[in-house]
């Protein structure tokens, strides 16, 4: 297009019957008065409807991080292993052999609550697209799910829909889902959390970024056609729910995993050629955000001709095409003259391919529809003028440490253990993970159910360990300790497989940031995460923020989900939970305090109100954490351990039971002196592991621990088919397993 066009004033879309911009329409688009004033200042005129729509999605919380950015900036994001930190589609770390792991976790909470199958499915689709946009083939998926109380009327339906949606998408696409976590809490009754993580594998020297360049280069649209689905999804994700939220169903997108698979193969095929300048998937805010981000990052301009956008519905307006969140679409900038070669690849995969614009030098996004300029917006304003809020925050005042005297001992600890391993919190997740294909790609070493998923890096001797963790009840009681704990728990789970933890992605799920106590939770968690990341040289390389997780003013538990990945240098040497052998010794690594604050024992057994009576969460000693973890990793590297398991929810007794159930063997163990038995059994002291090893190696291992300054004691011996301990009723491992495996299927099979 010519200069003359650019200087024109944008007009109403000829395809739409556009209303006048009124204060009501501005408010409907989620703008505050002050925000709209900024728009007027940037344009020096009233925006067209199309322009108003573009501004509203770009400045939504979801796209602009306007409430969270000031805090996110504090997180450490660098390290020798980091190839690409936050700000791109996903984070990237070096994993040796000329390869890179590309990964990110993202939320799809609001859509999944409204339409669980499609919401969860498109969450998986979106995160995989983020990963393969950068040139990586997805090799492992994980998910972190949080539902309301099991007895809540919606929970069963939501579990059913979300799990089949995740499976439906990932199974068809063909990526193993190797790990995850699931939790039930009434705080999520009206606002579930569906966080999906994807890890991909790329050549370290063939990574693709979003920054556009090359004036005159063609802008190409590929993938599915555009429909009217998902319009204003990003805005929905940036608002609270109320009783009318079901009316937002039309803003939920519909996923097509088959098309996504075609898109992956076509993109990877094209990426093997030297044709792409920049590429960005169309996720939240669709064509708008991909065009604005690509041009903005490249400090260029972009011109779009919407008449050339492949559509699947008649008479779509510019507003609709720009804001549609139809799935399985990508925007690319190609090198000049490469259109035909690229088109041939996409046609082979039977995908749409259309040149829909050009890179310009204007610093603006100009959009034409039916020959009329319908939007002409300065990119720096769209990208950078978004108001940055330093929202008022009130830090949570951490409660006093919990006094064990306030927690009575159970009548029969062994029976309590059976109850706990068969509870919603600790029962086996087999019902879920058997619905996910976790053996496809034939590289899965550790399937779901271990401390972390482990997948071999194809055609190498290395493997990646992957995990997602957070303990929201800790974060609620003390956001800073909870944030710290979430990071170290991933680090510990990776370490328990023998992996060297490399980096994390975060998925920050919180309530309404306009409430100072919620902002305080957010800020507290960030500060704790920062401390842990720094102490463990474990940077954040990608992430996602999901705010306004509230329904009718009730917020969720603060849930900073952390996804960690670690590298196993020799795929033959890693640790599992299921290898304990008859006669093995069990060694407990780490300090035993018997601290019961915020434990599952208090919540699920004593049924205390954790907010009022739960005390502070268990403190995290980062130096001890690192020392203990490094020591355990060293032991695993000797290749002589039978098994390893970290201690977390439920404490020591649950951890031993888990080892016994996984290995189908009994064990006898002793309790420490000077700590009340139930506190030693159920306290959730941090930084601990159990390792199982041939008895002949025990003395050496204990000596090595002492030398390393690591607390360790011989915990007991494996053998028989019962779990026994000091003063505890013996309990058969099969009884434990029955309870452990029973809860989920029984719950899901029950009818109201």
């Amino acid at each position: 297009m010519s200069e003359a066009h650019i200087q024109k004033i944008p007009q109403a879309d000829p395809a739409a019957n556009e209303p006048e911009i009124t204060p009501a329409i501005v408010a409907e688009h989620g703008f505050t008065e002050e925000e709209y004033a900024r728009v007027l200042r940037a344009l020096n005129r009233t925006p067209t409807m199309t322009e108003l729509g573009v501004y509203s999605v770009m400045w939504s919380e979801h796209c602009s991080y306007k409430s969270s950015r000031v805090w996110l900036k504090q997180l450490p994001t660098t390290g020798p292993q980091v190839i690409c930190g936050p700000g791109e589609n996903a984070g990237i770390v070096d994993i040796g052999n000329g390869l890179a792991a590309v990964f990110k976790m993202e939320s799809h909470n609001h859509p999944s609550f409204i339409e669980p199958y499609q919401g969860a499915a498109t969450g998986v689709g979106g995160i995989m697209r983020d990963v393969f946009t950068m040139g990586a083939r997805p090799i492992a998926n994980l998910n972190a799910l949080r539902f309301g109380a099991p007895e809540h009327e919606k929970t069963r339906h939501l579990v059913e829909g979300v799990v089949s949606g995740i499976g439906g998408y990932g199974n068809c696409f063909g990526v193993p889902t190797v790990g995850g976590e699931v939790e039930f809490d009434p705080a999520y009754n009206g606002n579930i959390l569906v966080n999906a993580m994807c890890v991909g594998l790329a050549d370290a020297d063939n990574i693709f970024y979003a920054a556009a360049s090359g004036i005159g280069n063609p802008v190409v649209y590929v993938g599915s056609k555009t429909g009217r689905d998902g319009i204003h999804g990003a805005t929905m994700a940036s608002a609270e729910f109320d009783d009318d939220s079901q009316e937002k169903r039309p803003t939920v997108q519909v996923g097509d995993p088959f098309t996504e698979k075609l898109l992956l193969e076509a993109c990877l095929e094209l990426m093997a050629e030297d044709d792409i300048v920049a590429i960005q998937d169309m996720g939240a805010a669709g064509l708008t955000s991909s065009a604005v981000e690509m041009a903005g990052k490249g400090n260029v301009g972009i011109e779009l001709i919407l008449d050339d956008v492949p559509v699947r519905e008649d008479a779509m307006t510019a507003y609709e095409m720009l804001l549609s969140e139809s799935q399985e679409r990508m925007l690319m900038v190609l090198k000049p003259g490469r259109e035909d070669a690229a088109r041939a690849i996409f046609e082979k995969w039977q995908l749409d391919f259309a040149v829909i614009g050009t890179i310009t030098d204007t610093g603006r996004m100009a959009v034409y529809h039916q020959g009329v300029l319908v939007a002409d917006l300065p990119l720096d304003s769209l990208n950078d003028d978004a108001p940055l809020y330093e929202r008022p925050y009130e830090f949570t005042v951490p409660p006093a440490p919990f006094d064990t005297a306030n927690a009575p001992a159970p009548a029969n600890a062994a029976q309590t253990l059976v109850q706990m391993v068969g509870s919603p919190a600790l029962s086996s997740r087999r019902w879920i993970y058997e619905q996910y294909d976790h053996t496809i790609m034939a590289d899965t070493l550790q399937r779901p159910g271990g401390d972390a998923g482990v997948v071999r890096v194809h055609n190498t001797n290395t493997a990646l360990a992957v995990t997602v963790d957070v303990t929201p009840r800790y974060c609620k009681a003390d956001p800073k300790e909870g944030g710290k704990q979430a990071v170290v728990e991933t680090w510990r789970n990776l370490t328990a497989t023998g992996a060297k933890p490399l980096a994390i992605t975060d998925c920050m799920n919180f309530g309404n940031p306009q409430r100072p106590e919620i902002m305080g939770q957010f800020a507290g968690c960030i500060l704790g995460m920062k401390e842990a990341c720094e102490a463990l040289d474990y940077p954040v390389v990608s992430g996602n923020v999901s705010l306004y997780n509230e329904t009718n003013g009730t917020g969720i538990l603060p849930t900073p989900g952390i996804g960690g990945i670690g590298l196993i240098d020799d795929a033959r040497i890693y640790a599992r939970m299921d290898g304990v052998k008859d006669g093995d010794d069990l060694i407990l690594i780490g300090d035993e305090q018997g601290y019961l604050g915020q434990s599952l024992y208090l919540r699920d057994v004593l049924k205390l109100d954790l907010d009022k009576e739960g005390g502070a969460p268990p403190p995290v000693d980062l130096a001890a954490e690192r020392r203990n973890g490094d020591f355990v990793r060293g032991l695993i590297a000797t290749g002589r351990l039978s098994a390893c398991h970290d201690l977390s929810d439920g404490g020591l007794y649950v951890a031993i039971a888990e080892l016994c159930m996984a290995s189908k063997i009994g064990a006898a163990f002793t309790l420490p002196k000077g700590i009340a038995a139930h506190a030693a059994l159920f306290g959730e002291d941090q930084g601990r592991y159990i390792v199982a090893l041939p008895a002949s190696l025990t003395a050496n291992a204990l000596q090595a621990a002492e030398k390393a300054g690591v607390t360790a004691r011989q915990l007991g011996t494996a053998g028989g088919d019962q779990l026994t301990g000091d003063g505890l009723d013996p309990i058969s491992v099969s009884t434990l397993s029955e309870a452990h495996e029973g809860w989920f299927p029984t719950y899901m099979d029950a009818t109201h």
Binding site: C172, K261, E434, Q435, Y436, T439, I440, T444
Partner: protein, 229 residues
């Protein structure tokens, strides 16, 4: 042995199958795209798992009518060996190369787990490296693996020794507890009447080395290699 693997746009076990074949036979199999109307010379044609064209219609129904399947049918008629795994088994029943149908799992859910299988006979190129009477352990991963056929056909399959694999317990019992998907007769795989076409729901290509937790899938490819070389 020359093998050819047929690729559909939605195949997703194609790489695993290619890797298993290459690792065990030492030869790279030929790859055949779904639009091709003839096959390269091959002793064995493999239809790998996946979702062919998305399988939004019945699994394998569209694939059965694709250009390449006409060629596969012709090659089968000419006496080549054909192996269909998972989605490949579904394609074989949809094309009529094998009788019966794979319906939605009885529990209506996708199931991914290791199952035990009995090897019903070990005098075919597919199973010659297995021992009968000793269950093998191989993963399944499917939503539509519930094998159904009418009584007469079932009786014929049984009578002609055309059941290749059955879901059994660890100890070899073909009972209901061992049946993951509701298949009639606990059937996990069947042969054509000339014993040259095998369709099976479990994925032997996923367990071919101890490092992955088992290698019971390996003898299937080793047997083919031995018999067809």
């Amino acid at each position: 042995m020359k093998a050819a693997v047929v690729l559909f746009p939605g195949s997703n076990c194609d790489r695993d199958t290619l890797v298993a074949l290459e690792r065990i036979t030492g030869q790279k199999p030929a790859q055949v795209w779904h639009t091709q109307t003839d096959l390269p010379p091959a002793d064995l044609v493999v239809l790998p798992g996946g979702f062919t064209y998305g399988d939004y219609l019945r699994a394998g129904a569209m694939a059965a009518r694709s250009p390449v399947m006409a060629a596969v049918k012709k090659r089968a008629a000419d006496g080549a060996y054909v192996l269909g795994i998972c989605n490949g088994f579904q394609m074989l029943t949809e094309t009529g190369l094998l009788p019966g149908a794979l319906m939605r799992n009885a529990g209506l859910k996708f199931i991914c787990k290791d199952v035990h299988l009995s090897v019903e006979r070990n005098d075919t190129p597919f199973t010659r490296k297995y021992a009968t009477g000793k269950p093998i352990r191989i993963p399944i991963a499917h939503h539509d693996g519930n094998y159904f056929t009418d009584d007469d056909t079932l009786a014929r399959l049984e009578g002609e020794g055309r059941v290749a694999f059955r879901y059994v317990t660890k100890d070899g019992a073909p009972n209901e507890a061992a049946n993951p998907n509701g298949s009639r007769g606990n059937i996990a795989g069947i042969y054509s009447d000339d014993m040259r076409v095998l369709g099976m729901m479990p994925h032997p290509e996923r367990l071919i080395e101890p490092g992955l937790g088992g290698s019971d899938g390996r003898p299937l490819f080793e047997g083919l290699m031995e018999a067809l070389s």
